[in-house]
């Protein structure tokens, strides 16, 4: 457990946390401009530098002006609200979401001289259980956010939000059982590596081919867990102002909004790792491309690693953009519809998926 190993782990942890934060920021911009495109309007374009080309796409607005504005806002704590809980709630909303990425592999392995660095912050044997554990801790931010506001409506929003989150956590957990049965392990890097071969030499053996229903259930449950539209009744942006985090201003509010995007990134990351081959590029192996037909294109090791990390980032980005598209397309569900979907449809479907997967695996021997 030398200093070098700790240093490498620290570098990886820093890289992953920065990835989550920066991707959340970029997604915020994509959401603002993308929603403007979808709704046939221009969106934020006021803050720019002399109208110079890339800067008038709302980048400065979203990435510089807004955070600066939020930092310099006065931090208002309503009377009668507990100051410590008011501070703790946004912390608990963001923290578990960000540390979930410690178990997600973002590349295969990097060989530098004598060191083989596994491109995963923590190579946990129980990776998927760690992810589930951190997701269940994310409920506390919502519940405390509602309670610490000393407002009846915020509390109602918080309780409803957490009831929705815990309902879909079961569906999420069950949807992954099929994938765990297929790959036979909880270690996420092992699952990523197991998706490296190809069917008939052509189709990459990604998890979605083994578990299409599991993928769908997990995606829907994941979007519901992040409380994004169409499941955003606890927040209710056009009606309730902000639901459970109405009474938060400045960076505390920014923390809650960040938790929205960070959870989105985490769901995208999990979907990518378990169902879409994580960092796998079709036909790319450790020494280069093995194309169907026999041609082998040898590539230097660093290029292979860079391609794999880029592939992972692109796939995560794709699923985040997909979630943004869903948000600006679908209307909001009513609360009883949300709970019905979670308990009466997704839960039995996920159980059925698990049983069918079990029967198929036993029959195929």
């Amino acid at each position: 457990m030398g200093l070098i190993e700790v240093g490498i782990a620290a570098a990886k942890a820093f890289a992953v946390l920065m990835l989550v934060l920066h991707m959340s920021a970029i997604l915020l911009w994509v959401e603002r401009k993308g929603s403007a495109l979808i709704q046939d309007r221009i969106g934020a374009n006021r803050a720019n530098i002399f109208g110079v080309m890339p800067f008038n796409f709302g980048l400065i607005n979203t990435l510089i002006a807004d955070p600066l504005k939020l930092i310099t806002k006065e931090d208002v704590v309503p009377a009668g609200a507990d100051k410590f809980l008011h501070f703790l709630a946004p912390f608990l909303a963001v923290f578990p979401v960000m540390v979930t990425f410690a178990a997600v592999p973002f590349g295969d392995q990097l060989v530098i001289g004598d060191y083989t660095i596994n491109l995963q912050v923590a190579a946990l044997d129980i990776g998927i259980l760690y992810v589930l554990a951190m997701s269940s801790l994310a409920v506390y931010g919502v519940v405390l956010g509602g309670w610490a506001s000393n407002s009846r409506w915020a509390l109602l929003g918080g309780i409803r939000g957490s009831a929705q989150m815990i309902s879909y956590e079961i569906a999420m957990g069950l949807a992954l059982i099929g994938a765990v049965m297929t790959f036979g392990t909880l270690d996420m890097q092992a699952i990523a590596r197991a998706q490296g071969h190809h069917f008939f030499g052509l189709i990459p053996a990604w998890g979605v081919i083994y578990q299409p229903l599991g993928f769908l259930i997990f995606l829907i449950a994941g979007i519901a867990e992040t409380k994004r539209v169409p499941f955003d009744l606890p927040e209710g942006e056009s009606e309730l102002i902000s639901g459970y985090f109405t009474e938060y201003s400045g960076m505390k509010q920014a923390a809650f909004m960040l938790s929205d995007f960070a959870e989105s990134v985490v769901v995208a990351g999990l979907v990518t790792t378990l169902f879409f081959g994580a960092w796998q590029v079709p036909f790319l192996f450790r020494d280069g491309f093995h194309l169907p037909g026999g041609a082998i294109v040898a590539l230097p090791h660093l290029l292979v690693v860079a391609l794999q990390i880029a592939a992972f980032t692109l796939k995560v980005f794709f699923f985040c953009v997909f979630q943004i598209l869903v948000r600006w397309t679908l209307p909001r569900y009513r609360y009883d519809q949300v709970m019905d979907l979670g308990w009466k449809y997704l839960l039995p479907l996920a159980l059925a998926n698990m049983l069918v997967t079990g029967v198929v695996i036993v029959l195929l021997g």
Binding site: L129, S136, L137, Y140, L144, S162
Partner: protein, 170 residues
């Protein structure tokens, strides 16, 4: 290294547990309990029981404590009045705890020869596969009985909750 780490964890866990018992605000008490359970999970990891540590956080700190918080918030339990004989209660509690601790210490110290070497645990002990293998072969009957226990819990909860007929906010 292991002993020092355990000592730090033990002190933190006991401090958090004391926070649960002594803090007047019920919500903060519940949060202290969440911290205690989380620290216990870390202790489990130190004991190489990785699977149980993860399950502790998922079920206990993630599900049961959420239920506790719901109940505290929905019943709107008020902060305890600190004036009414709290000091005497705390002293009595500490006296009982001290007495039990003393009794346990005496029992351990008068035991005689220490327990012999228990040997090293097999590789992978405490990991998911080892737990799974023994759970579904040696402990199959308790596993099936657990499902009946859970069924009883579900039915009981539904029966208890169905009696409300007064107008409420939902």
């Amino acid at each position: 290294m292991g002993a020092a780490l355990f000592l730090v964890l033990a002190v933190l866990t006991v401090a958090a547990a004391l926070g649960v018992v002594l803090h007047p605000n019920p919500v903060k008490s519940a949060l202290f309990l969440v911290v205690t359970l989380f620290l216990l999970a870390v202790v489990f990891v130190l004991l190489e029981a990785h699977m149980i540590a993860a399950l502790q956080i998922i079920v206990y700190a993630g599900a049961i404590m959420v239920l506790f918080l719901f109940v505290i918030m929905l019943l709107n339990l008020q902060i305890d009045d600190p004036e009414r004989g709290r000091r005497r209660l705390v002293l009595r509690g500490l006296a009982w705890a001290g007495g039990i601790l003393l009794a346990v210490e005496l029992a351990v110290l008068t035991r005689g020869a220490p327990v012999g070497d228990v040997g090293t645990a097999p590789a992978g002990y405490g990991g998911a596969e080892a737990v799974a293998k023994s759970l579904f072969t040696d402990f199959l009957l308790p596993f099936e009985l657990t499902s009946i226990l859970l069924l009883v819990a579900v039915v009981g909860a539904v029966v208890l909750a169905q009696k409300q007929r007064r107008p409420t906010i939902s």
